[in-house]
C-alpha cells in the first residue's frame, strides 16, 4: 500500500493535480519493426538478433507493413486523426541497451494525433484527450542482478531491441489517480478489442509512465512535473500518482520547489524515489531518420485498415442492451473481453431468451471458470451448451438447481453441457402435479399465519409460499408450475 505523506485535507484542497500518461504498447507482429527477427517473448537471451537490431555498422532498417496497419488501427480506435504523411526520427541517448545510440521513433510528425477516449469519472463520463500516437522501436533489456558478476557489470539481452511499439500520449486532462486508473483500463480494453496487442503487463507488452504536477487552484500555469516510471500494474500506478501528488504538495507547502526529474516507484514501500535529474539528460537531439522513407498512409490504405476496425466496447455495450434486453451492468460484465462478448452474442442469438443467457453466463459460467482459472476460450461448456441449457430452463424442462448440478458435472469432467445432459439421461424436473399439490397443502398447513395474512389481502405473501414450496421440493419443482398451482390453491382458500 502507498504510504502517503501526512498533509492535511485543507492543504490538499488548495492544489489541483495535473496528470498526463504515456503508454507504450507492444504490437503483436511476428517479426520486429525493422528486421525479420522474431518478437517472441522468453526466447534464450540474444538469440533473436541480427545486424539490424544489434546496431551493427552498415545495417539498414526495412519497415514492417503490419506495424503500420496495427498502429493505424489502434489510432482509429482511439478516434485519432491519421496524418497521411509522417516521418521517423532518431532519438539520441546513451544507454547500453540501445546499441545504435539512438532509438528510431517519431517526433515532430507522428502517425496520428488528436484522439480521445471516454472514462467514467466520479462526476460522470469524462473525455480524456490523446495528444498523439506514434510508432517506435523498443530497446533491449538491462539486467542489473541475478547473474554471475552482477556486482560490477550489467548484462544486456537484445532480443527486445527492435520490437514494435506504439506510444500513446494523453493530454493533461487527468485530474486524479482514480481517473488515471480509469483511463488505463479503458485504453487497455480498446487496444485489446482491436487485437493489435495482448497488453500483457508482466511481459512488458504494456508499460506506463505518469507525468504528475500540482498547481494552486485557479493558477493557469502548470506546476513543475515529475515523471514516474517503472510501475508495472494499474493499481501501483494509481498508488504512485497518489503518493506523488501528496509529496509535491508537501514540498511546496514547506516552502520548497518541485524538481523536474524522473522518479521510480517502489511498490513495497509505496514511495517514489528520485532517479535522475532531467535538466541535462533530456536533450535527445532528434533529427529525421535518413535510412527510412516518409511513412505515407494514403486514403485508400486508411480505408482498408478502417474496414478491419471491430465494433468498440462502448458501442457494443449500448447495442447489446437494446438488442438483447439486458441491463447496462450485464453488458459491462459481458464485454470485459472481446472473446467473452463474442461468445455471449453467439449464445444469445441461438437461445430463445437472451436475458436468461446473460444471467446464466454471469451466475453459472464465469464463477466456475474463475474458480478453475480458465478463460472463456477454454470453458468446458461451450456457448452452444449455454444456449441449450438456457432453453431447457426457459421451457421448464429442468430447474435452476438441476442446471447447477449439470454445470458442476461439466466442469468436473471437462465435458460440454449437452454431452453431460445426454449422459445423465436427459433428466426433467418433476411435473407431477399431485406430488406438488401435496407439498403445497403441507406448506400451507405449516404456515397458518402467512395464510391468514394472504386472506387479509396481503398478496405479496405468495412469494413466501413459493420459496417454501421450492425448498420443500429441494429445488426440483418447476417454479412456473409452483406459481400456477399456488395461485389456484390460495384462491380456493379465499372462498373457504
Amino acid at each position: 500500500m502507498a504510504t502517503t505523506p501526512s498533509i492535511s485535507t485543507a492543504a490538499r484542497a488548495k492544489y489541483e493535480p495535473i496528470i498526463g500518461l504515456e503508454v507504450h504498447v507492444q504490437l503483436l507482429t511476428a517479426s520486429k519493426i525493422f528486421c525479420s527477427c522474431s518478437t517472441q517473448f522468453g526466447a534464450p537471451p540474444n538469440t533473436n538478433v541480427c545486424p539490424v537490431c544489434l546496431g551493427l555498422p552498415g545495417a539498414l532498417p526495412v519497415l514492417n507493413r503490419k506495424v503500420v496497419e496495427f498502429a493505424t488501427l489502434a489510432a482509429m480506435a482511439l478516434q485519432c486523426r491519421i496524418n497521411e504523411t509522417s516521418i521517423f526520427s532518431r532519438k539520441n541517448y546513451f544507454y547500453p541497451d540501445l546499441p545504435k545510440g539512438y532509438q528510431i521513433s517519431q517526433f515532430d510528425k507522428p502517425l496520428a494525433e488528436l484522439g480521445f477516449l471516454v472514462i467514467q469519472s466520479a462526476n460522470g463520463p469524462k473525455r480524456i484527450g490523446i495528444t498523439r500516437l506514434h510508432v517506435e522501436e523498443d530497446a533491449g533489456k538491462s539486467l542489473h542482478e541475478g547473474f554471475a558478476g552482477a556486482a560490477d557489470s550489467t548484462a544486456i539481452d537484445l532480443n527486445r531491441s527492435g520490437v514494435p511499439l506504439i506510444e500513446i500520449v494523453s493530454e493533461p486532462d487527468i485530474a486524479t489517480a482514480d481517473e488515471a486508473y480509469q483511463y488505463l483500463t479503458a485504453l487497455k480494453e480498446i487496444i485489446l478489442y482491436t487485437g493489435v496487442s495482448d497488453c500483457n503487463m508482466e511481459e512488458g507488452s504494456l508499460r506506463c509512465d505518469a507525468n504528475v504536477s500540482v498547481r494552486p487552484v485557479g493558477q493557469e500555469k502548470f506546476g513543475t512535473k515529475a515523471e514516474v516510471k517503472n510501475v508495472n500494474s494499474f493499481r501501483f500506478i494509481k498508488e504512485a500518482i497518489e503518493y506523488e501528488i501528496e509529496r509535491q504538495i508537501e514540498v511546496i507547502e514547506s516552502g520548497g520547489k518541485v524538481a523536474q526529474e524522473t522518479r521510480l516507484y517502489n511498490s513495497v514501500e509505496g514511495k517514489t524515489y528520485s532517479m535522475r535529474s532531467k535538466e541535462q539528460a533530456h536533450d535527445y537531439r532528434y533529427f529525421p531518420e535518413p535510412d527510412l522513407l516518409p511513412l505515407v498512409v494514403d486514403e485508400k490504405w486508411q480505408a482498408e485498415i478502417r474496414a478491419t476496425l471491430p465494433e468498440l466496447p462502448e458501442a457494443r455495450r449500448q447495442r447489446m442492451v437494446t438488442e438483447y434486453g439486458i441491463t447496462p451492468q450485464d453488458a459491462a460484465v459481458l464485454t470485459e473481453t472481446r472473446a467473452l462478448a463474442d461468445q455471449f452474442e453467439s449464445a444469445a442469438k441461438a437461445a430463445k431468451n437472451p436475458k436468461r443467457v446473460a444471467n446464466l453466463v454471469q451466475s453459472e459460467l464465469m464463477g466456475r471458470l474463475k474458480a478453475k482459472g480458465l478463460d472463456i476460450e477454454h470453458s468446458p461448456v461451450s456457448m452452444a451448451g449455454v444456449a441449450a441449457s438456457a432453453d431447457l430452463v426457459e421451457s421448464g424442462a429442468i430447474s435452476g438447481k438441476m442446471l447447477k448440478d449439470l454445470y458442476n458435472l461439466c466442469f468436473e469432467r471437462g465435458q460440454d453441457f449437452l454431452q453431460v445432459y445426454d449422459e445423465a439421461g436427459r433428466p426433467e424436473q418433476s411435473r407431477d402435479t399431485s406430488a406438488l399439490e401435496k407439498i403445497i397443502e403441507e406448506v400451507m398447513a405449516a404456515n397458518p399465519k402467512q395464510l391468514e395474512q394472504y386472506r387479509a389481502g396481503k398478496k405479496t405473501v405468495i412469494a413466501f409460499f413459493v420459496g417454501q414450496v421450492m425448498k420443500a421440493s429441494k429445488g426440483q419443482a418447476n417454479p412456473q408450475m409452483v406459481n400456477e398451482l399456488l395461485a389456484r390453491k390460495l384462491a380456493t382458500k379465499l372462498n373457504s
Binding site: A30, S31, C35, S36, C37, S38, P44, P45, N46, T47, V49, C50, P51, L54, V62, L63, N64, R65, K66, V67, V68, E84, I87, N92, Y93, F94, Y95, P96, G101, S142, H144, F147, A148, G149, A151, D152, S153, T154, A155, I156, D157, L158, L264, Y273, M275, R276, Q280, A281, D283, R285, P288, P290, L293, P294, L295, V296, V297, D298, K300, W301
Partner: protein, 112 residues
C-alpha cells in the same frame, strides 16, 4: 554558427565520451571546419522549398504510383520466412568486447 568549447563538452557529456583538452581543441576546430563548409548552402534561397528529410523522399519513390504505393517497395510483409534469419547466437556475441556467452556485458550502469 560557431561551435564552442562548451558545445563540444556538452555533446561529449551526453554521449558519455571523455575528451582530453587537446582532443576538445581538435573537435572544436574540426566541427567548425565541417559546419563552415556546409554553411555555404545557406547562400541559396530556400524560402519556397519545402523541408525534405532525405533525398529518397523525392528521388527514391516510384513516381508512377500514388500515395502509399509510391513507397511500398521500401516496406515488407510481416513474415519471417524467406528473409534474412537471425544470427546464430555465438556469431552475434563474437565481436562483443565483453560477454559471458549468454549476455553482452558492460560496466555496471545502475539507475536505481
Amino acid at each position: 554558427m560557431k561551435v564552442t568549447d562548451k558545445d563540444v563538452s556538452y555533446v561529449a557529456d551526453l554521449s558519455n565520451v571523455e575528451l582530453t583538452d587537446s582532443e576538445r581543441v581538435r573537435m572544436v576546430r574540426d566541427l567548425n571546419s565541417i559546419l563552415g563548409y556546409i554553411e555555404r548552402l545557406s547562400e541559396l534561397d530556400t524560402a519556397k522549398v519545402p523541408a525534405m528529410a532525405q533525398v529518397s523522399d523525392r528521388y527514391g519513390a516510384d513516381q508512377s504510383k500514388q500515395g502509399s504505393e509510391r513507397f511500398a517497395y521500401a516496406s515488407r510483409e510481416d513474415v519471417r520466412e524467406g528473409l534474412r534469419a537471425s544470427l546464430p547466437h555465438a556469431e552475434a556475441m563474437a565481436n562483443a568486447p565483453g560477454s559471458d556467452a549468454t549476455f553482452f556485458k558492460v560496466p555496471k550502469v545502475i539507475e536505481r
